[in-house]
């Protein structure tokens, strides 16, 4: 690189030991319990799916940054690994591997590199990959292997069962849900493992409490007001995974506390509306992507006043 040039960047200017790489390694560590839970419930194919998406993301990241952006050490910051891992966790473990690979390529290639690489993307790349797969291969993406079943039986997720065949919420065993014994994506089922990972990230001050709490609180409130079971609403689908690990992505979420609250509440509201009034059973990925798109606007509207600046009338 051209070392004798002064690098000029926009604010905030904070000097810290923390690097993108160390943040990403912490995120990976926080995701491992939930991944392990997925492997326990759905078998080793979960690990295979994760390996394929991570490989696809790293390969795409390498090729695009090397030959299009002219950067050499693009893989060192580990963001591609996190994207690949997060993407895998939103997929059913039975997804055909070429589709998982395509999802990884799309996540990095279209979701991130097309916008200029790490830090430039508007949308969370892992969710871009997931939504691409969901829209492109709806059959494979909504066929869920049954938990703890070695013979490859498939069934519906709780949310789709409740929506389409009117399964009674009272018949659902909440304790089984908490340990992840339910149909779903390979990384979204282990509620306890996800919460453990979240607490770790929060304790290490990698992420702040604001966004996940705003999302979960708004959904809980809406569920309570409309007479749905709050616990089932919170534990089902990809809500925890999305709220903890995807909505909190630095690049695509607002910078100010006020902005984070607005962002979190709106994600919760949109998720709830899609779940109960939309045609898809789960809406957290759409909700986060929609609010990703609104983030620049939220940042603009909640920009703090510079010290001494007069309030505009």
């Amino acid at each position: 690189m051209e070392g004798n040039r002064i690098t000029v960047t926009g604010s905030p200017h904070v000097s810290a030991k923390r690097t993108t790489q160390s943040v990403m390694l912490n995120v990976i560590a926080a995701l491992l319990p939930a991944l392990a839970c997925g492997i326990w419930i759905f078998g080793w194919r979960s690990a295979l799916v994760a390996a394929v998406t991570i490989a696809a993301c790293m390969l795409t990241e390498f090729l695009c940054s090397r030959y299009m952006l002219g950067r050499r050490d693009s893989l060192r910051d580990c963001t591609a690994i996190v994207t690949g891992l997060l993407l895998a966790m939103t997929l059913p473990s039975s997804i055909p591997l070429p589709m998982a690979f395509a999802g990884g390529v799309f996540a990095i290639g279209v979701g991130k590199m097309a916008f200029g690489g790490t830090g430039q993307n508007i949308f969370n790349p892992a969710l871009v990959g997931r939504v691409f797969l969901l829209i492109s291969f709806p059959v494979e993406m909504t066929t869920w292997p049954l938990p703890l079943s070695p013979d490859g039986l498939t069934g519906a997720t709780l949310l789709s069962a409740m929506k389409e065949s009117g399964v009674d919420a009272a018949s659902i065993d909440v304790a089984q849900m908490a340990i992840g014994n339910m149909g779903g994506s390979l990384g979204e089922v282990g509620a306890i493992a996800l919460i453990a990972g979240w607490l770790y990230l929060t304790a290490r001050r990698i992420i702040r409490l604001v966004i996940p709490v705003a999302i979960l609180a708004s959904i809980a409130l809406l569920a309570a007001v409309t007479g749905n079971s709050v616990v089932i609403e919170l534990l089902s689908g990809g809500l925890l995974l999305g709220a903890f690990f995807m909505a909190t992505d630095y690049v695509t979420s607002p910078m100010t506390t006020k902005g984070m609250i607005v962002y979190g509440i709106l994600i919760g509201v949109i998720t709830f509306v899609i779940r109960h009034y939309g045609s898809y059973p789960e809406g957290i990925s759409f909700a986060i992507l929609i609010m990703n798109g609104c983030t620049p606007l939220i940042n603009k509207l909640t920009r703090p006043r510079v010290f001494g600046e007069r309030r505009k009338r």
């Binding site: 709806p138 059959v139 389409e164 065949s165 045609s279």
Partner: protein, 188 residues
């Protein structure tokens, strides 16, 4: 200024009128060919002109267009055109053929706006093998339902809403066809 505009519009009007008249026959033929094509897809073996003897019946709250099919003056079935507004993206219109007992002889989706690759598969799906097929079933004894709703027809994978709407249109068509068959025997 106004003169130029008037003259332009007049020339355009004459031109359009001329082409409209000279293509009228061909256009009418093309659109009735399409309808007759669809009807002969769903009922076969008729020797009358179903389009010219079409009639409407009331089934439930909707008006169903019926195209009777006769052979040597004997009623061998009819094609019923019906629709459902409950598709994934709006209205689905179908033409379905029934024999006098109410068995489905065939169907053709004439217009829809369902998702390509998903709901749009309905034009082939319900002709498929096994419990996907609606051909030969008789909705007049028991309305058709997708297996997810406890019925006997396997809906399109991942497109339950489109499948439901399609079957709804088919059930309405059946109701219309049965009404028509009843009326035509009463009149005899």
């Amino acid at each position: 200024m106004a003169g130029v505009l008037t003259i332009t519009t007049m020339i355009a009007g004459f031109l359009l009128g001329y082409v409209y008249r000279s293509t009228a026959e061909a256009r009418d033929k093309a659109s009735s060919d399409k309808l007759v094509g669809a009807i002969s897809q769903v009922v076969s073996g008729f020797d009358n002109d179903p389009v010219s003897s079409k009639t409407t019946v009331t089934a439930g709250s909707s008006q169903i267009t019926i195209y009777p099919a006769t052979h040597d003056g004997r009623l061998i079935g009819c094609a019923a055109e019906s629709s459902s507004d409950n598709g994934f993206s709006g209205k689905i219109t179908i033409v379905a053929g029934f024999d006098p007992d109410g068995n489905i002889l065939g169907y053709e989706v004439t217009s829809h706006a369902e998702t390509p690759g998903l709901g749009a598969k309905m034009n082939d799906w319900f002709r498929g093998t096994g419990s996907r097929s609606v051909i030969g079933r008789n909705p007049s004894s028991r309305p058709l339902k997708v297996s997810k709703d406890g019925g006997e027809v396997d809906g399109i994978t991942a497109a339950t809403i489109s499948s439901r709407a399609f079957l709804e249109a088919l059930n309405i068509a059946s109701e219309g066809a049965m009404t028509y068959f009843r009326q035509s025997t009463e009149n005899k």
